[in-house]
């Protein structure tokens, strides 16, 4: 299964200037990741763990105060790998929506409030398909909506006339308009009710099935990951602590943090008392030395407080970054 995006030693920090003091928020810290093709890849983690920043880096959408300090984000463009971060503005703009597209958080104000959906669709199409008459572009949009089971009447409506669920499905339709190879979704269903969320997830599953492309789904809700993703990575304090197929993550979680995360989820029909992770999430400005989870980890070793464990594959393509699980600690206890 070849990868469509290869992330190598990526470090993306926010450089903040408050009252003359320079503060660096280490949002993404030495991340290595291979995102496979034709799969729904999940990135899980709590708020403030850097998953949205990682998504922005994947999308090569870097706006100050965010800066890429080291590392590459390689897209596989017709066979060979190109570092997206080294592309200039024009090349990046051309790749957007044709090669890689983005589904927003689904907050209220994602579409231009004073224009009809038709105009918004034309803006996106016009910027990428040169030399096509508006009429042609509109028929393209109308067909696409019908394929996805949405009524073309939507094009004549204004954004404020659509409900939250409908607006999010239109955003998804827009992001798949030019059949991109990769779709990045940042918490696509957080702002929706559970019934609307189910319809949106269903739509994303159908699209991936039909286009055979890759959807990278970022959300803190483990239920959604279990429901739709096939492979996932768990992020904590800017680092990937565990990466495996969704089946493995839920059946035998290896990293203590993942275990806590899954164990603390309440389930209907099961009233056993659940406890949450002790302590509080680390600050990304000066993360604790060694493994960032060690202040909250119950099985903490002396080594954990000094050195950062690397992601280690245990031959079943199940990677984990924890001294308890890696065989290295056998050599120097």
């Amino acid at each position: 299964m070849n990868a469509i995006i290869k992330v190598e030693q990526l470090q993306a920090f926010y450089i903040l200037e408050i009252l003359g003091k320079r503060k660096t928020v280490k949002a993404v810290n030495e991340v290595n990741l291979d995102i496979p093709e034709n799969e729904i890849y999940g990135i899980a983690g709590e708020s403030g763990c850097g998953k949205t920043t990682l998504l922005k880096a994947l999308f090569a959408f870097i706006e100050p105060p965010l800066q890429i300090c080291t590392g590459k984000v390689n897209y596989s463009l017709n066979g060979k790998f190109v570092n997206a971060l080294s592309l200039n503005g024009k090349e990046r703009r051309e790749l957007r929506w044709t090669y890689i597209s983005y589904i927003p958080q689904g907050s209220m104000s994602v579409f231009n409030p004073v224009k009809k959906m038709k105009v918004i669709y034309l803006d996106f199409l016009e910027s990428h398909l040169q030399g096509k008459a508006n009429r042609e572009l509109l028929t393209l949009a109308r067909q696409h909506l019908e394929e996805l089971g949405l009524s073309p009447q939507i094009l004549n409506a204004y954004p404020h006339q659509l409900s939250g669920g409908m607006r999010q499905r239109v955003a998804i339709a827009l992001s798949t308009l030019l059949k991109p190879r990769i779709i990045l979704a940042d918490e696509p269903t957080t702002a929706l009710d559970v019934v609307a969320q189910r319809a949106v997830l269903q739509l994303m599953r159908d699209i991936q099935h039909e286009l055979k492309n890759t959807i990278v789904l970022v959300t803190h809700d483990m239920g959604i990951h279990a429901n739709i993703t096939t492979r996932m990575a768990i992020m904590y304090a800017g680092r990937i602590v565990e990466e495996a197929s969704t089946q493995d993550i839920f059946s035998r979680p290896l990293h203590p943090y993942t275990q806590y995360l899954i164990q603390s989820l309440p389930r209907i029909g099961d009233k056993t008392t659940r406890s949450s992770v002790p302590g509080s999430p680390p600050s990304l400005i000066d993360p604790p030395p060694g493994c960032p989870f060690h202040p909250r980890c119950v099985q903490v070793l002396d080594l954990c407080t000094r050195e950062m464990p690397q992601l280690q594959d245990d031959e079943t393509n199940h990677k984990v970054a924890c001294w308890l699980r890696s065989d290295q600690n056998v050599r120097h206890p």
Partner: protein
């Protein structure tokens, strides 16, 4: 003193602060003026600026420099009276309309919209025509204050409306605070930057209005203010006769005063902006 160091990073504050100190120095100097405030023909007339008379003398036989120091002081008195009293009215109306809501909000806003739309300047002129003699410094200030609050009441009200929706209002009520202590303890710290910047805008407006009233001859012309100095300069045709120093002094002084006030207010209100203050608290 750390605050001043941060503020000076903003060039607008630096310019504004220095100019304001300069003008403040002039105001202080006016108390030590060798010449009388009102008497005419104290010096030879229409002399160009020289060592003895820094800014020359005018056709009324007064030293332009010392007249200017009185003018700034009096104009500032009028502007400050207008500024502070209109703040009180604007805050009262803004907070009551914003917090009470319902009928009182509609009535108060109806009055303030009415005052906004009709040309205040003309009604001001109408009233000034009648009061004419009585328009001493204080009365002019009060008159300007009465007309100067409508605009700001509206902005304060909209901020209070947004604050009322925020959750800490409910926490404060649940902590047993009454409406008054809620407004003072919770809303005031957040609206201070707005009140400060509208104060400076009102002062600038008051100075401009005072000048126009003086040009129309509606204030006591013997008391030197920026407006009356300009008015005498125009009636004595100083422009045609080439006494440029007499007419340019009030013009330049007004511009310097207002630019300084504006630069000072913009930078300070940015510094006081709640978001900035929260960041500073966080960065400690």
């Amino acid at each position: 003193m750390g605050i001043l160091k941060d503020l000076f990073k903003d060039y607008r504050f630096a310019v504004g602060f220095i100019l304001l100190c300069l003008l403040f120095f002039l105001v202080i100097a006016s108390f030590f003026s060798p010449y009388d405030l009102i008497k005419w023909l104290q010096v030879p007339r229409d002399k160009a600026p020289s060592r003895s008379h820094l800014l020359g003398t005018n056709s009324k036989g007064q030293d332009v420099f010392w007249e200017a120091t009185f003018a700034i002081r009096n104009s500032l008195i009028i502007a400050l009276i207008s500024g502070f009293i209109s703040r009180i009215i604007a805050i009262l109306v803004g907070f009551v309309a914003g917090y009470k809501g319902g009928i009182t909000d509609r009535i108060l806003m109806g009055i303030s919209d009415g005052l906004l739309v009709i040309p205040l300047f003309l009604v001001l002129v109408l009233v000034a025509m009648l009061l004419r003699e009585a328009l001493t410094l204080v009365n002019t200030g009060l008159l300007l204050a009465f007309f100067g609050w409508a605009w700001d009441a509206r902005t304060i009200r909209s901020q209070v409306l947004s604050l009322r929706e925020r959750e800490f209002t409910q926490t404060s009520l649940l902590s047993g605070n009454g409406t008054l202590s809620l407004v003072i303890k919770e809303y005031f710290p957040l609206t201070i930057p707005l009140i400060f910047s509208t104060l400076i805008n009102n002062i600038a407006w008051a100075i401009g209005m005072e000048i126009v009233l003086a040009i129309l001859g509606l204030v006591r012309l013997d008391i030197p203010t920026l407006g009356t100095t300009l008015q005498w300069a125009i009636t004595y045709q100083s422009m045609l006769l080439g006494h440029w120093w007499w007419i340019l002094t009030p013009v330049v002084l007004t511009i310097v005063l207002l630019v300084a006030l504006y630069g000072f207010s913009v930078s300070v209100s940015e510094y006081l902006d709640p978001r900035m203050r929260i960041q500073r608290i966080g960065a400690k």
